[in-house]
Protein backbone atom coordinates (compact mmCIF):
# COMPACT_ATOMS: atom_id res chain seq x y z
CA UNK A 1 0.00 0.00 0.00
CA UNK A 2 1.21 3.48 -0.88
CA UNK A 3 2.07 5.91 1.89
CA UNK A 4 0.09 9.10 2.30
CA UNK A 5 2.89 11.12 0.74
CA UNK A 6 3.15 8.75 -2.23
CA UNK A 7 -0.58 9.07 -2.83
CA UNK A 8 -0.43 12.87 -2.70
CA UNK A 9 2.68 13.01 -4.91
CA UNK A 10 1.22 10.73 -7.57
CA UNK A 11 -1.93 12.86 -7.74
CA UNK A 12 -0.09 16.19 -7.84
CA UNK A 13 -1.32 17.39 -4.46
CA UNK A 14 0.65 19.74 -2.21
CA UNK A 15 0.34 20.73 1.43
CA UNK A 16 -1.75 23.72 0.33
CA UNK A 17 -3.77 23.43 -2.86
CA UNK A 18 -5.66 25.79 -5.10
CA UNK A 19 -9.37 25.03 -5.02
CA UNK A 20 -10.48 26.50 -8.32
CA UNK A 21 -9.92 25.42 -11.89
CA UNK A 22 -11.65 26.06 -15.17
CA UNK A 23 -10.11 23.00 -16.77
CA UNK A 24 -6.37 23.41 -17.02
CA UNK A 25 -5.94 26.85 -15.46
CA UNK A 26 -5.79 26.97 -11.67
CA UNK A 27 -6.55 30.08 -9.63
CA UNK A 28 -5.03 31.22 -6.36
CA UNK A 29 -8.24 32.23 -4.59
CA UNK A 30 -8.56 34.42 -1.52
CA UNK A 31 -11.23 32.50 0.37
CA UNK A 32 -10.77 30.69 3.66
CA UNK A 33 -8.60 27.62 3.77
CA UNK A 34 -10.23 24.24 4.38
CA UNK A 35 -8.10 21.58 5.98
CA UNK A 36 -8.90 18.02 5.08
CA UNK A 37 -8.42 15.49 7.86
CA UNK A 38 -8.39 11.76 7.40
CA UNK A 39 -11.07 9.92 9.37
CA UNK A 40 -8.62 7.02 9.56
CA UNK A 41 -6.43 8.68 12.18
CA UNK A 42 -7.71 12.25 12.45
CA UNK A 43 -4.47 13.60 11.00
CA UNK A 44 -4.29 16.45 8.52
CA UNK A 45 -3.87 15.35 4.91
CA UNK A 46 -3.56 18.73 3.18
CA UNK A 47 -5.48 21.96 2.82
CA UNK A 48 -7.35 23.79 0.09
CA UNK A 49 -8.00 27.45 -0.62
CA UNK A 50 -11.70 28.19 -1.07
CA UNK A 51 -13.19 30.31 -3.83
CA UNK A 52 -14.93 33.63 -3.25
CA UNK A 53 -18.04 35.24 -4.69
CA UNK A 54 -15.85 37.05 -7.22
CA UNK A 55 -14.34 33.74 -8.25
CA UNK A 56 -17.82 32.29 -8.65
CA UNK A 57 -18.75 35.10 -11.05
CA UNK A 58 -15.60 34.49 -13.05
CA UNK A 59 -16.33 30.77 -13.30
CA UNK A 60 -19.94 31.13 -14.31
CA UNK A 61 -19.06 33.67 -16.99
CA UNK A 62 -16.30 31.47 -18.31
CA UNK A 63 -18.63 28.47 -18.33
CA UNK A 64 -21.31 30.31 -20.27
CA UNK A 65 -18.78 31.51 -22.80
CA UNK A 66 -17.31 28.01 -23.20
CA UNK A 67 -20.77 26.57 -23.76
CA UNK A 68 -21.13 28.64 -26.95
CA UNK A 69 -18.21 26.73 -28.45
CA UNK A 70 -18.65 23.34 -26.84
CA UNK A 71 -22.29 22.90 -27.87
CA UNK A 72 -21.28 22.98 -31.55
CA UNK A 73 -18.60 20.30 -31.25
CA UNK A 74 -20.10 17.02 -32.58
CA UNK A 75 -21.19 14.70 -29.79
CA UNK A 76 -18.85 11.82 -30.75
CA UNK A 77 -15.94 14.27 -30.79
CA UNK A 78 -16.94 15.55 -27.35
CA UNK A 79 -17.16 11.96 -26.19
CA UNK A 80 -13.64 11.28 -27.43
CA UNK A 81 -12.50 13.60 -24.63
CA UNK A 82 -14.58 11.55 -22.20
CA UNK A 83 -13.00 8.36 -23.56
CA UNK A 84 -9.53 9.71 -22.90
CA UNK A 85 -10.59 10.78 -19.41
CA UNK A 86 -11.60 7.16 -18.82
CA UNK A 87 -8.12 6.05 -19.91
CA UNK A 88 -6.47 8.60 -17.61
CA UNK A 89 -8.61 7.37 -14.71
CA UNK A 90 -7.51 3.80 -15.45
CA UNK A 91 -3.91 4.96 -15.16
CA UNK A 92 -4.56 6.64 -11.80
CA UNK A 93 -7.09 4.17 -10.43
CA UNK A 94 -4.92 2.97 -7.53
CA UNK A 95 -3.75 6.34 -6.14
CA UNK A 96 -7.16 7.97 -6.62
CA UNK A 97 -8.89 4.99 -5.01
CA UNK A 98 -6.44 5.21 -2.13
CA UNK A 99 -7.07 8.94 -1.75
CA UNK A 100 -10.82 8.30 -1.61
CA UNK A 101 -10.09 5.89 1.23
CA UNK A 102 -7.71 8.27 2.96
CA UNK A 103 -10.02 11.28 2.80
CA UNK A 104 -13.44 9.62 3.15
CA UNK A 105 -12.70 6.41 5.05
CA UNK A 106 -14.34 3.76 2.87
CA UNK A 107 -12.30 0.56 2.52
CA UNK A 108 -9.71 0.47 -0.26
CA UNK A 109 -11.68 -2.06 -2.33
CA UNK A 110 -14.60 0.37 -2.32
CA UNK A 111 -12.24 3.24 -3.12
CA UNK A 112 -11.10 1.32 -6.18
CA UNK A 113 -14.72 0.49 -6.96
CA UNK A 114 -15.59 4.17 -6.89
CA UNK A 115 -12.91 4.97 -9.48
CA UNK A 116 -14.09 1.99 -11.54
CA UNK A 117 -17.55 3.57 -11.58
CA UNK A 118 -15.98 6.70 -13.02
CA UNK A 119 -14.29 4.64 -15.72
CA UNK A 120 -17.48 2.70 -16.45
CA UNK A 121 -19.58 5.82 -16.92
CA UNK A 122 -16.95 7.28 -19.25
CA UNK A 123 -17.17 4.13 -21.38
CA UNK A 124 -20.95 4.30 -21.27
CA UNK A 125 -21.02 7.97 -22.31
CA UNK A 126 -18.75 7.31 -25.28
CA UNK A 127 -21.29 4.92 -26.78
CA UNK A 128 -24.23 7.02 -25.68
CA UNK A 129 -22.86 10.05 -27.54
CA UNK A 130 -23.80 8.39 -30.83
CA UNK A 131 -27.25 7.52 -29.53
CA UNK A 132 -28.53 10.79 -28.16
CA UNK A 133 -31.31 10.51 -30.61
CA UNK A 134 -34.88 11.69 -30.86
CA UNK A 135 -37.74 10.33 -32.92
CA UNK A 136 -39.07 10.87 -36.39
CA UNK A 137 -42.85 10.95 -36.06
CA UNK A 138 -45.66 10.64 -38.60
CA UNK A 139 -47.07 14.04 -39.52
CA UNK A 140 -50.80 14.40 -40.20
CA UNK A 141 -50.01 16.95 -42.91
CA UNK A 142 -48.89 16.00 -46.43
CA UNK A 143 -45.21 16.57 -47.24
CA UNK A 144 -44.40 17.45 -43.67
CA UNK A 145 -41.90 15.85 -41.40
CA UNK A 146 -42.32 15.84 -37.64
CA UNK A 147 -39.18 15.21 -35.66
CA UNK A 148 -37.78 15.39 -32.18
CA UNK A 149 -34.18 16.10 -31.34
CA UNK A 150 -32.05 16.72 -28.29
CA UNK A 151 -29.85 19.78 -28.00
CA UNK A 152 -27.18 20.71 -25.46
CA UNK A 153 -28.73 22.27 -22.39
CA UNK A 154 -26.12 24.68 -21.01
CA UNK A 155 -24.37 24.98 -17.66
CA UNK A 156 -24.78 22.02 -15.33
CA UNK A 157 -24.09 22.67 -11.64
CA UNK A 158 -22.99 19.56 -9.78
CA UNK A 159 -23.07 19.43 -5.98
CA UNK A 160 -21.60 16.23 -4.60
CA UNK A 161 -21.44 14.63 -1.20
CA UNK A 162 -18.52 13.18 0.77
CA UNK A 163 -19.65 9.54 0.60
CA UNK A 164 -19.07 9.24 -3.15
CA UNK A 165 -16.70 12.15 -3.53
CA UNK A 166 -15.75 11.58 -7.16
CA UNK A 167 -18.06 8.95 -8.72
CA UNK A 168 -21.13 11.20 -8.61
CA UNK A 169 -19.22 13.94 -10.41
CA UNK A 170 -18.31 11.40 -13.08
CA UNK A 171 -21.88 10.10 -13.45
CA UNK A 172 -23.03 13.62 -14.17
CA UNK A 173 -20.05 15.02 -16.05
CA UNK A 174 -19.42 12.18 -18.48
CA UNK A 175 -22.96 12.41 -19.82
CA UNK A 176 -23.27 16.17 -19.57
CA UNK A 177 -20.01 16.77 -21.45
CA UNK A 178 -20.95 14.27 -24.16
CA UNK A 179 -24.33 16.02 -24.38
CA UNK A 180 -22.59 19.33 -25.11
CA UNK A 181 -23.00 20.93 -21.71
CA UNK A 182 -20.36 22.50 -19.51
CA UNK A 183 -20.09 21.66 -15.82
CA UNK A 184 -19.38 23.52 -12.60
CA UNK A 185 -18.55 21.19 -9.75
CA UNK A 186 -18.93 22.08 -6.09
CA UNK A 187 -17.38 19.16 -4.22
CA UNK A 188 -18.06 18.38 -0.58
CA UNK A 189 -16.00 20.49 1.83
CA UNK A 190 -15.15 17.23 3.59
CA UNK A 191 -13.48 15.72 0.53
CA UNK A 192 -11.98 18.54 -1.54
CA UNK A 193 -8.69 16.77 -2.20
CA UNK A 194 -10.24 13.96 -4.22
CA UNK A 195 -11.90 16.62 -6.39
CA UNK A 196 -8.62 18.44 -6.97
CA UNK A 197 -6.87 15.15 -7.72
CA UNK A 198 -9.55 14.27 -10.27
CA UNK A 199 -9.12 17.61 -12.01
CA UNK A 200 -5.34 17.08 -12.00
CA UNK A 201 -5.81 13.68 -13.63
CA UNK A 202 -7.98 15.00 -16.46
CA UNK A 203 -6.14 18.22 -17.23
CA UNK A 204 -3.65 16.69 -19.68
CA UNK A 205 -6.55 15.22 -21.63
CA UNK A 206 -8.15 18.67 -21.78
CA UNK A 207 -4.85 20.23 -22.94
CA UNK A 208 -4.20 17.55 -25.57
CA UNK A 209 -7.67 18.02 -27.03
CA UNK A 210 -7.77 21.82 -26.80
CA UNK A 211 -10.93 21.71 -24.72
CA UNK A 212 -11.88 25.34 -24.01
CA UNK A 213 -11.37 26.67 -20.50
CA UNK A 214 -14.76 26.77 -18.82
CA UNK A 215 -16.02 23.37 -19.98
CA UNK A 216 -14.79 21.52 -16.89
CA UNK A 217 -14.96 23.78 -13.83
CA UNK A 218 -14.45 22.92 -10.19
CA UNK A 219 -14.57 25.26 -7.22
CA UNK A 220 -14.19 24.40 -3.56
CA UNK A 221 -16.37 26.87 -1.70
CA UNK A 222 -18.47 27.36 1.39
CA UNK A 223 -22.25 27.32 1.08
CA UNK A 224 -22.16 31.07 1.79
CA UNK A 225 -20.26 31.50 -1.50
CA UNK A 226 -21.73 28.70 -3.57
CA UNK A 227 -25.03 27.91 -1.90
CA UNK A 228 -28.37 29.61 -2.42
CA UNK A 229 -26.85 31.94 -5.01
CA UNK A 230 -25.73 28.93 -7.05
CA UNK A 231 -29.18 27.35 -6.79
CA UNK A 232 -30.93 30.56 -7.67
CA UNK A 233 -28.65 31.46 -10.56
CA UNK A 234 -30.55 31.54 -13.86
CA UNK A 235 -27.26 31.02 -15.65
CA UNK A 236 -27.22 27.47 -14.28
CA UNK A 237 -29.47 25.43 -16.57
CA UNK A 238 -29.49 22.21 -14.55
CA UNK A 239 -28.65 21.78 -10.90
CA UNK A 240 -27.67 18.23 -9.99
CA UNK A 241 -27.50 17.78 -6.25
CA UNK A 242 -26.61 14.69 -4.27
CA UNK A 243 -27.14 15.05 -0.55
CA UNK A 244 -29.68 15.04 2.21
CA UNK A 245 -33.41 15.47 1.80
CA UNK A 246 -33.09 18.66 3.88
CA UNK A 247 -30.69 20.27 1.42
CA UNK A 248 -32.64 18.82 -1.52
CA UNK A 249 -35.89 20.42 -0.39
CA UNK A 250 -34.13 23.74 -0.08
CA UNK A 251 -32.64 23.33 -3.55
CA UNK A 252 -35.98 22.33 -5.07
CA UNK A 253 -37.65 25.44 -3.64
CA UNK A 254 -34.97 27.86 -4.78
CA UNK A 255 -34.50 26.35 -8.24
CA UNK A 256 -38.28 25.93 -8.55
CA UNK A 257 -38.83 29.64 -7.96
CA UNK A 258 -36.97 30.37 -11.18
CA UNK A 259 -38.55 27.33 -12.89
CA UNK A 260 -35.11 25.85 -13.32
CA UNK A 261 -34.29 22.17 -13.70
CA UNK A 262 -33.02 19.95 -10.93
CA UNK A 263 -31.68 16.44 -10.69
CA UNK A 264 -31.99 15.45 -7.05
CA UNK A 265 -30.45 12.36 -5.49
CA UNK A 266 -31.39 12.52 -1.83
CA UNK A 267 -31.77 10.28 1.16
CA UNK A 268 -32.93 6.69 1.23
CA UNK A 269 -34.49 4.40 3.81
CA UNK A 270 -33.86 1.19 1.99
CA UNK A 271 -35.35 -2.13 2.97
CA UNK A 272 -34.69 -5.77 2.20
CA UNK A 273 -37.62 -8.17 2.41
CA UNK A 274 -36.72 -11.72 3.38
CA UNK A 275 -39.58 -14.09 2.72
CA UNK A 276 -39.95 -17.73 3.87
CA UNK A 277 -38.84 -18.68 0.35
CA UNK A 278 -35.53 -16.87 0.55
CA UNK A 279 -32.20 -18.56 0.06
CA UNK A 280 -30.42 -17.38 3.21
CA UNK A 281 -27.06 -18.32 1.74
CA UNK A 282 -27.62 -15.38 -0.60
CA UNK A 283 -29.65 -13.17 1.69
CA UNK A 284 -27.29 -13.05 4.66
CA UNK A 285 -23.99 -12.02 2.99
CA UNK A 286 -25.75 -9.71 0.56
CA UNK A 287 -27.63 -7.96 3.33
CA UNK A 288 -24.56 -7.66 5.55
CA UNK A 289 -22.73 -5.93 2.68
CA UNK A 290 -25.75 -3.67 2.30
CA UNK A 291 -25.84 -2.71 5.96
CA UNK A 292 -22.16 -2.30 6.88
CA UNK A 293 -20.56 -1.53 3.50
CA UNK A 294 -19.04 1.98 3.46
CA UNK A 295 -19.78 1.89 7.21
CA UNK A 296 -23.45 2.49 6.46
CA UNK A 297 -22.76 5.75 4.65
CA UNK A 298 -24.24 4.97 1.26
CA UNK A 299 -27.53 6.43 0.05
CA UNK A 300 -28.42 2.84 -0.80
CA UNK A 301 -27.31 1.32 2.52
CA UNK A 302 -29.83 -1.20 3.83
CA UNK A 303 -31.55 0.51 6.77
CA UNK A 304 -34.39 -1.96 7.37
CA UNK A 305 -34.76 -5.73 7.01
CA UNK A 306 -38.34 -6.97 6.87
CA UNK A 307 -38.34 -10.65 7.80
CA UNK A 308 -41.19 -13.16 7.79
CA UNK A 309 -42.05 -14.44 11.26
CA UNK A 310 -41.58 -18.08 10.21
CA UNK A 311 -37.88 -17.58 9.51
CA UNK A 312 -37.24 -14.62 11.80
CA UNK A 313 -35.31 -16.41 14.55
CA UNK A 314 -33.22 -18.39 12.08
CA UNK A 315 -32.38 -15.28 10.07
CA UNK A 316 -31.52 -13.24 13.15
CA UNK A 317 -29.20 -15.92 14.53
CA UNK A 318 -27.28 -16.13 11.25
CA UNK A 319 -27.27 -12.36 10.77
CA UNK A 320 -25.89 -11.69 14.24
CA UNK A 321 -23.23 -14.35 13.72
CA UNK A 322 -22.20 -12.63 10.50
CA UNK A 323 -21.87 -9.34 12.42
CA UNK A 324 -19.62 -11.08 14.94
CA UNK A 325 -17.25 -11.80 12.04
CA UNK A 326 -17.55 -8.23 10.81
CA UNK A 327 -16.69 -6.87 14.26
CA UNK A 328 -13.27 -8.51 13.98
CA UNK A 329 -12.67 -6.65 10.74
CA UNK A 330 -13.23 -3.07 11.86
CA UNK A 331 -10.13 -1.04 11.28
CA UNK A 332 -7.91 0.95 8.98
CA UNK A 333 -9.68 0.96 5.60
CA UNK A 334 -6.34 0.87 3.79
CA UNK A 335 -5.71 -2.56 5.34
CA UNK A 336 -6.90 -5.27 2.94
CA UNK A 337 -8.46 -7.32 5.78
CA UNK A 338 -10.74 -4.51 6.91
CA UNK A 339 -14.43 -4.62 6.07
CA UNK A 340 -15.63 -1.61 8.07
CA UNK A 341 -13.72 1.64 8.25
CA UNK A 342 -14.40 4.81 10.24
CA UNK A 343 -17.33 7.18 10.03
CA UNK A 344 -16.57 10.52 8.43
CA UNK A 345 -16.48 12.60 11.64
CA UNK A 346 -17.45 12.79 15.30
CA UNK A 347 -20.90 14.18 14.44
CA UNK A 348 -21.72 11.05 12.49
CA UNK A 349 -20.64 9.00 15.49
CA UNK A 350 -22.92 11.08 17.73
CA UNK A 351 -25.85 10.56 15.36
CA UNK A 352 -25.14 6.83 15.37
CA UNK A 353 -25.16 6.75 19.16
CA UNK A 354 -28.26 8.91 19.24
CA UNK A 355 -30.07 6.45 16.94
CA UNK A 356 -29.08 3.54 19.19
CA UNK A 357 -30.48 5.39 22.20
CA UNK A 358 -33.66 6.49 20.42
CA UNK A 359 -34.59 3.07 19.09
CA UNK A 360 -34.34 1.73 22.63
CA UNK A 361 -36.40 4.61 24.02
CA UNK A 362 -39.10 3.94 21.46
CA UNK A 363 -39.37 0.31 22.52
CA UNK A 364 -36.83 -1.40 20.29
CA UNK A 365 -34.07 -3.74 21.36
CA UNK A 366 -30.42 -3.60 20.36
CA UNK A 367 -29.26 -7.12 19.52
CA UNK A 368 -25.70 -6.33 18.55
CA UNK A 369 -23.17 -3.51 18.48
CA UNK A 370 -23.95 0.15 18.93
CA UNK A 371 -20.73 1.07 20.70
CA UNK A 372 -17.62 2.91 19.72
CA UNK A 373 -15.05 0.32 18.66
CA UNK A 374 -11.96 -0.02 20.79
CA UNK A 375 -8.52 -1.30 19.96
CA UNK A 376 -5.19 -0.43 18.45
CA UNK A 377 -5.53 2.06 15.64
CA UNK A 378 -9.11 2.91 16.54
CA UNK A 379 -8.27 5.54 19.14
CA UNK A 380 -9.77 8.54 17.31
CA UNK A 381 -13.31 7.48 18.22
CA UNK A 382 -14.64 7.38 14.65
CA UNK A 383 -14.87 3.60 14.43
CA UNK A 384 -18.15 2.07 15.58
CA UNK A 385 -19.43 -1.46 15.98
CA UNK A 386 -22.32 -1.76 13.50
CA UNK A 387 -25.63 -2.09 15.29
CA UNK A 388 -28.57 -4.44 14.80
CA UNK A 389 -31.82 -3.42 16.48
CA UNK A 390 -35.28 -4.95 16.56
CA UNK A 391 -37.80 -2.24 15.87
CA UNK A 392 -41.18 -1.37 14.45
CA UNK A 393 -41.55 0.50 11.23
CA UNK A 394 -43.56 3.36 12.72
CA UNK A 395 -40.81 4.35 15.18
CA UNK A 396 -39.71 7.89 14.44
CA UNK A 397 -36.06 6.85 14.32
CA UNK A 398 -36.88 4.10 11.82
CA UNK A 399 -38.66 6.58 9.58
CA UNK A 400 -35.52 8.75 9.45
CA UNK A 401 -32.30 8.04 7.64
CA UNK A 402 -29.36 7.71 10.01
CA UNK A 403 -26.18 7.88 7.95
CA UNK A 404 -24.35 5.21 9.92
CA UNK A 405 -24.31 1.43 10.28
CA UNK A 406 -27.49 0.76 12.22
CA UNK A 407 -30.07 -1.59 10.76
CA UNK A 408 -33.60 -2.21 12.02
CA UNK A 409 -35.11 -5.69 11.95
CA UNK A 410 -38.86 -5.69 11.43
CA UNK A 411 -41.02 -8.83 11.62
CA UNK A 412 -43.93 -9.37 9.25
CA UNK A 413 -46.57 -12.05 9.00
CA UNK A 414 -48.89 -13.26 6.26
CA UNK A 415 -48.32 -12.60 2.57
CA UNK A 416 -45.61 -10.65 0.77
CA UNK A 417 -48.07 -7.78 0.29
CA UNK A 418 -47.76 -7.06 4.02
CA UNK A 419 -43.99 -6.82 3.72
CA UNK A 420 -44.30 -4.55 0.69
CA UNK A 421 -46.62 -2.26 2.64
CA UNK A 422 -43.93 -1.91 5.32
CA UNK A 423 -41.26 -1.39 2.67
CA UNK A 424 -43.26 1.50 1.21
CA UNK A 425 -44.31 3.06 4.50
CA UNK A 426 -41.44 5.56 4.80
CA UNK A 427 -41.01 9.04 3.33
CA UNK A 428 -38.06 8.01 1.16
CA UNK A 429 -38.07 5.82 -1.96
CA UNK A 430 -34.59 5.07 -3.20
CA UNK A 431 -33.70 1.37 -3.12
CA UNK A 432 -35.37 -1.88 -2.12
CA UNK A 433 -34.83 -5.60 -2.45
CA UNK A 434 -36.54 -8.93 -1.93
CA UNK A 435 -34.97 -12.30 -1.29
CA UNK A 436 -37.21 -15.10 -2.50
CA UNK A 437 -37.12 -18.05 -4.87
CA UNK A 438 -40.89 -17.76 -5.35
CA UNK A 439 -41.78 -16.24 -8.72
CA UNK A 440 -45.13 -14.91 -7.53
CA UNK A 441 -43.55 -13.07 -4.61
CA UNK A 442 -40.79 -11.64 -6.79
CA UNK A 443 -43.16 -10.45 -9.50
CA UNK A 444 -45.58 -8.97 -6.97
CA UNK A 445 -42.68 -7.00 -5.50
CA UNK A 446 -41.82 -5.70 -8.98
CA UNK A 447 -45.40 -5.00 -10.03
CA UNK A 448 -47.43 -1.80 -9.88
CA UNK A 449 -48.57 -2.80 -6.39
CA UNK A 450 -45.02 -3.60 -5.38
CA UNK A 451 -42.07 -1.56 -4.20
CA UNK A 452 -42.51 2.18 -4.71
CA UNK A 453 -38.76 2.77 -4.90
CA UNK A 454 -36.65 3.87 -7.86
CA UNK A 455 -34.61 0.70 -7.46
CA UNK A 456 -36.17 -2.71 -6.77
CA UNK A 457 -33.93 -5.79 -6.82
CA UNK A 458 -34.64 -9.51 -6.57
CA UNK A 459 -32.08 -11.70 -4.81
CA UNK A 460 -29.61 -8.82 -4.83
CA UNK A 461 -29.18 -6.22 -2.11
CA UNK A 462 -30.12 -2.56 -2.03
CA UNK A 463 -26.62 -1.18 -2.59
CA UNK A 464 -24.03 -1.63 -5.28
CA UNK A 465 -25.83 -0.45 -8.41
CA UNK A 466 -24.25 -0.81 -11.84
CA UNK A 467 -23.82 2.33 -13.92
CA UNK A 468 -25.84 0.84 -16.82
CA UNK A 469 -29.16 1.35 -15.08
CA UNK A 470 -30.75 4.68 -14.22
CA UNK A 471 -29.99 5.52 -10.60
CA UNK A 472 -32.37 7.43 -8.37
CA UNK A 473 -35.50 7.26 -6.31
CA UNK A 474 -38.97 8.54 -5.63
CA UNK A 475 -40.76 10.53 -2.90
CA UNK A 476 -38.30 12.34 -0.61
CA UNK A 477 -35.40 10.83 -2.53
CA UNK A 478 -36.07 13.54 -5.07
CA UNK A 479 -37.19 11.80 -8.27
CA UNK A 480 -33.97 12.33 -10.23
CA UNK A 481 -32.28 9.72 -12.38
CA UNK A 482 -28.63 9.74 -13.30
CA UNK A 483 -26.01 7.37 -14.71
CA UNK A 484 -27.29 4.81 -17.22
CA UNK A 485 -30.37 3.96 -19.28
CA UNK A 486 -31.91 7.16 -20.66
CA UNK A 487 -30.66 9.42 -17.84
CA UNK A 488 -28.72 11.38 -20.48
CA UNK A 489 -31.95 13.11 -21.50
CA UNK A 490 -31.96 15.31 -18.40
CA UNK A 491 -28.74 16.94 -19.63
CA UNK A 492 -30.34 17.94 -22.93
CA UNK A 493 -33.01 20.26 -24.24
CA UNK A 494 -35.81 18.46 -26.03
CA UNK A 495 -37.01 20.06 -29.23
CA UNK A 496 -39.91 19.18 -31.52
CA UNK A 497 -39.62 20.40 -35.12
CA UNK A 498 -42.08 20.43 -38.02
CA UNK A 499 -40.57 20.70 -41.48
CA UNK A 500 -42.81 21.63 -44.39
CA UNK A 501 -41.31 20.55 -47.71
CA UNK A 502 -44.46 21.29 -49.73
CA UNK A 503 -45.57 24.50 -51.43
CA UNK A 504 -48.82 24.57 -49.44
CA UNK A 505 -49.50 25.65 -45.89
CA UNK A 506 -51.88 23.14 -44.33
CA UNK A 507 -52.57 23.78 -40.65
CA UNK A 508 -52.79 21.10 -38.01
CA UNK A 509 -56.24 19.82 -37.03
CA UNK A 510 -57.45 20.87 -40.53
CA UNK A 511 -57.95 24.47 -39.42
CA UNK A 512 -58.82 26.86 -42.26
CA UNK A 513 -57.25 30.32 -41.99
CA UNK A 514 -57.60 32.09 -45.32
CA UNK A 515 -56.22 35.60 -45.59
Amino acid sequence: MMTKQEILDKLGLSDVNMGLTTGTEWFDTKGKTTTSYSPIDGKEIASVKNGTLEDYEMVINKAREAFKTWRMVPAPVRAEVVRQIGLALREYKEPLGALVTLEMGKIYQEGLGEVQEMIDICDFAVGQARLMNGFNLQSERPMHRLTEQYQPLGVVGIVTSYNFPVAVWAWNSALAIAAGDVVIWKPSSKTPLTAIATMNIIQNVLKDNNVPEGVFNMMVAKSSVMGDNFLGDKRVDLLSLTGSTAVGKRAAQIVGKRLGKTLLELGGNNAVIVTPNADLKLAIPSTVFGTVGTAGQRCTTTRRIIIHEDIYDNFVEKFVNAYKSVEKKIGNPLDSNTLVGPLIDKYSVELFQEAVTKVTEEGGKVLFGGDIAKGQGLENGLYVVPAIAEAQNHFQIVQEETFAPIVYLIKYSGSVENAIAINNDVPQGLSSAIFTKDLLEAETFLSGMGSDCGIANVNAGTSGAEIGGAFGGEKETGGGRESGSDAWKVYMRRQTSTINYSTDLPLAQGIEFNL
Binding site: S161, Y162, N163, S188, S189, K190, K222, S223, S224, G227, D228, G243, S244, T245, A246, V247, R250, G267, Q297, C299, L343, I344, D345, Y347, S348, E350, L351, E354, E401, F403
Partner: protein, 70 residues
Amino acid sequence: MKITKDITIEDLIEEYPFSVKYLSTKGIRCIVCGEPIWGTLEEACIEKNFTEEDIIQAVKELNELNKQNN
Protein backbone atom coordinates in the same frame (compact mmCIF):
# COMPACT_ATOMS: atom_id res chain seq x y z
CA MET B 1 -21.28 38.45 20.75
CA LYS B 2 -19.62 36.28 18.16
CA ILE B 3 -22.47 34.10 17.03
CA THR B 4 -25.37 35.82 15.29
CA LYS B 5 -28.58 34.48 13.82
CA ASP B 6 -27.18 35.18 10.35
CA ILE B 7 -24.28 32.77 10.62
CA THR B 8 -24.51 29.87 8.19
CA ILE B 9 -24.87 26.43 9.74
CA GLU B 10 -21.74 25.38 7.87
CA ASP B 11 -19.66 28.15 9.50
CA LEU B 12 -21.33 27.56 12.86
CA ILE B 13 -20.31 23.91 12.87
CA GLU B 14 -16.79 24.68 11.77
CA GLU B 15 -16.13 27.54 14.16
CA TYR B 16 -18.30 26.48 17.09
CA PRO B 17 -18.54 22.67 16.96
CA PHE B 18 -20.34 22.49 20.31
CA SER B 19 -23.35 24.04 18.54
CA VAL B 20 -24.22 20.71 16.93
CA LYS B 21 -25.09 19.10 20.24
CA TYR B 22 -26.83 22.19 21.58
CA LEU B 23 -29.04 22.55 18.51
CA SER B 24 -29.74 18.84 18.48
CA THR B 25 -31.32 19.19 21.93
CA LYS B 26 -33.51 21.93 20.41
CA GLY B 27 -34.62 19.60 17.62
CA ILE B 28 -32.38 21.05 14.93
CA ARG B 29 -30.20 18.57 13.07
CA CYS B 30 -27.28 20.52 11.68
CA ILE B 31 -25.76 17.53 9.95
CA VAL B 32 -27.78 15.24 7.73
CA CYS B 33 -26.26 12.49 5.62
CA GLY B 34 -22.89 13.56 7.00
CA GLU B 35 -23.08 17.05 5.50
CA PRO B 36 -24.10 20.35 7.10
CA ILE B 37 -27.52 21.64 6.13
CA TRP B 38 -27.54 24.82 4.05
CA GLY B 39 -28.81 28.15 5.25
CA THR B 40 -28.47 30.30 8.32
CA LEU B 41 -29.04 29.60 11.98
CA GLU B 42 -32.16 31.75 11.84
CA GLU B 43 -33.57 29.80 8.89
CA ALA B 44 -32.94 26.49 10.64
CA CYS B 45 -34.73 27.80 13.73
CA ILE B 46 -37.71 29.09 11.76
CA GLU B 47 -38.07 25.72 10.07
CA LYS B 48 -38.50 24.22 13.54
CA ASN B 49 -41.14 26.83 14.40
CA PHE B 50 -38.96 28.90 16.74
CA THR B 51 -40.44 32.28 17.63
CA GLU B 52 -38.36 35.44 17.37
CA GLU B 53 -37.80 35.28 21.13
CA ASP B 54 -36.75 31.63 20.87
CA ILE B 55 -34.17 32.54 18.25
CA ILE B 56 -32.78 35.40 20.36
CA GLN B 57 -32.57 33.03 23.32
CA ALA B 58 -30.84 30.32 21.27
CA VAL B 59 -28.25 32.80 19.98
CA LYS B 60 -27.68 34.03 23.54
CA GLU B 61 -27.21 30.52 24.87
CA LEU B 62 -24.84 29.60 22.07
CA ASN B 63 -22.70 32.63 22.89
CA GLU B 64 -22.72 31.70 26.56
CA LEU B 65 -21.61 28.19 25.67
CA ASN B 66 -18.87 29.69 23.55
CA LYS B 67 -17.62 31.73 26.52
CA GLN B 68 -17.60 28.60 28.70
CA ASN B 69 -15.70 26.67 26.05
CA ASN B 70 -13.05 29.38 25.86
